[in-house]
Symmetry: C2
Subunit: 427 residues, 2 copies
Amino acid sequence: MKNYMEMTENELKEQLEILNKEYESAKAKGLKLDMSRGKPSPAQLDVTNDIFDVINSETGWVSDSGIDCRNYGNAEGIPEARQLMGEFMGVPMENVLVCGNASLNIMYDCIASAMLFGIMGSTPWSKLDNVKFLCPVPGYDRHFKITELMGIEMVNIPMTENGPDMDMVEKLVSTDSSVKGIWCVPKYSNPQGIVYSDETVKRFAALKPAAKDFRIYWDNAYALHYVYDENIEIPEIISECAKAGSPDMVYEFCSTSKISFAGAGISAIAASKDNLDWLLKRLTVQTIGYDKLNQLRHVRYFKNGEGLKAHMRKHAQFLRPKFDVVLDILEKELAGTGAGSWMKPLGGYFISFEAMEGCAKSIVAKCREAGVVLTGAGAPFPYGMDPKDSNIRIAPTYPSLDELTQAAELFTLCVKIASVEKLLGIA
Amino acid sequence: MKNYMEMTENELKEQLEILNKEYESAKAKGLKLDMSRGKPSPAQLDVTNDIFDVINSETGWVSDSGIDCRNYGNAEGIPEARQLMGEFMGVPMENVLVCGNASLNIMYDCIASAMLFGIMGSTPWSKLDNVKFLCPVPGYDRHFKITELMGIEMVNIPMTENGPDMDMVEKLVSTDSSVKGIWCVPKYSNPQGIVYSDETVKRFAALKPAAKDFRIYWDNAYALHYVYDENIEIPEIISECAKAGSPDMVYEFCSTSKISFAGAGISAIAASKDNLDWLLKRLTVQTIGYDKLNQLRHVRYFKNGEGLKAHMRKHAQFLRPKFDVVLDILEKELAGTGAGSWMKPLGGYFISFEAMEGCAKSIVAKCREAGVVLTGAGAPFPYGMDPKDSNIRIAPTYPSLDELTQAAELFTLCVKIASVEKLLGIA
């Protein structure tokens, strides 16, 4: 395909006319698709429906450890669930608390708690003039919304194919005591699907922060969520930090939101015993305990880490063709045009697209006008501001393959139009 | 029975000898009972076991309103659950958000949010030198733990048989702008089981607070939890506040913790639309949404407010004989001795006992030594400090009738010993 960059103005104008006609007929189709969030499809949710049957009058509601899961108590989670989520993350159950249905809520609670009470004896962040978080970009919008709400200053850190730019991270963390945290999605990063390299993980563990209450917020949301190769592993961060002499430097988070049910899974936090003691002391004021019946449901259904992994193979079967469809259409329609670039993600829920500078908002607007809602341009950046206005997060998991084909074709069409318009100097 | 106050020293000494012998043989029984928390008994939990069957492959996981409850979304709760919890509280569903399994967590979140962000434009409380909460005493220990953790100064307000001392409440709320809230359990108060009078409720609604961000924290935990008479009603506070010209002055909380399962119910907050909008804006940063499958379970099982009420009749059948056993033993063993007083609670989960001044800690310690764990003396007061060291919260719901008989007999024995010791001047 001819590169737009090499076209004359007249050729570009011709192209634009053709593309605009295509766009008009695309609009006429009256598409109505929401690809804004990383939601599992109904078919994917169906693979877990048997979980509804594991608690009944025959199986009962008492855990093997003897806990009546209907009643109060056990704010740290039932032992079996701590074991299960520990196997998920590769850490001992003693380092795990099992919480409610959203790991985002634990992350929020950790940060709200640091704002109000500090961390293990440090000054509450709300009493400090300046608190900063490092934000690898593009990243997960909901992480950034939390730090924005708290008034925490966010510093962009560029992502590389091996993870965040560690030179920059090391420098800022070791020299600036107002840097209190960094958001990480280490495996199948949101939105690029990048896996942190072993070296990156080890450099994280070896950080020597200027602030005692600096923590790595290690959101291992997609630890098991491969798309193409299930054998990708990264070093386990809790033990790496301990080995490097900083056992308290990391909070790890995970959930079964994209393993069992997006809205009704269980979540967990892993950290050093001292960290957990500090958190639990406040957590037991905040709540009487999380839903243990749902914990029991998950324990009985998945049994152990192997059970989780086996289940993820079913999910991958749904995800792979969807990623393939989008990647194929991107390749077919855009390769060689210079209108953008993308990576093949190794796992996770997204494909990250880099448009020509200044084109992302326009592409998202054109898609929406023709009935396809994408994640807002800029969302994967702190304050919703993509300095280059070029990143777009594509969430291919929810639509059917047919819908996805139509949406991806519309998307590439809008990318072409925006690119040609840019080259022609139109709006 | 002879009043201890009227006994001579010798008579008291004789009494003590007899009582101590009884105590030694009670200890020899090796009781092991935990009456420290208001937990439903296993038999009570059993009455809701059919709730496990309402979601299955035949009934499906889609709400009548068309929401796939397995997936993300609907942070405000599914409409059917908002309707159900609205009927619980007697307010329209538009004024209700349905949350996770613990209403305590919503209360915590409301206060943590006010600390960090203020309320509807007010200064964040963490930026103020002085924030106070009024605390009717005796009250719910977990309320006081939240305000204590936040560093909020707690001011004791005496309870009367009609609710908190409203003269004192009115004066403090209207004149002191550092008073930002009051904890209330308006129906079957914890621990006394008092029902606020109509006049008390109306005086609450008519409050003219000095602080714009003053809120009544109306924890209607036991709204339907009668023991003897199911027809007790109090005025509905949200509409009362609106009628009185202060629609934003109240947050109301409730949950099904003591209707379905203590650890796995659903909770709700009711408030004016402006209040909910303010809260929801932050709540949607804090979490992606609460467990809608559990909401659906409750909606299908209870159907409506009448369904909840019908279910409470089953619970009352378990509770009534337990309250009767304790009240009968208190009457039989202590009436006329001057060793303490108690009220017959109208509902809720507790019996509140007033020992002679300075005796509560000693009674709780003696009970514990003989194998019965009560709620810590002082717990129903801010900072765990009962100024008179006289209040003890008895939680009669969890033990069996047999166990309860033994525990209540031990309790009255310990009360007698502590009273006689006090009159004799023995520490």
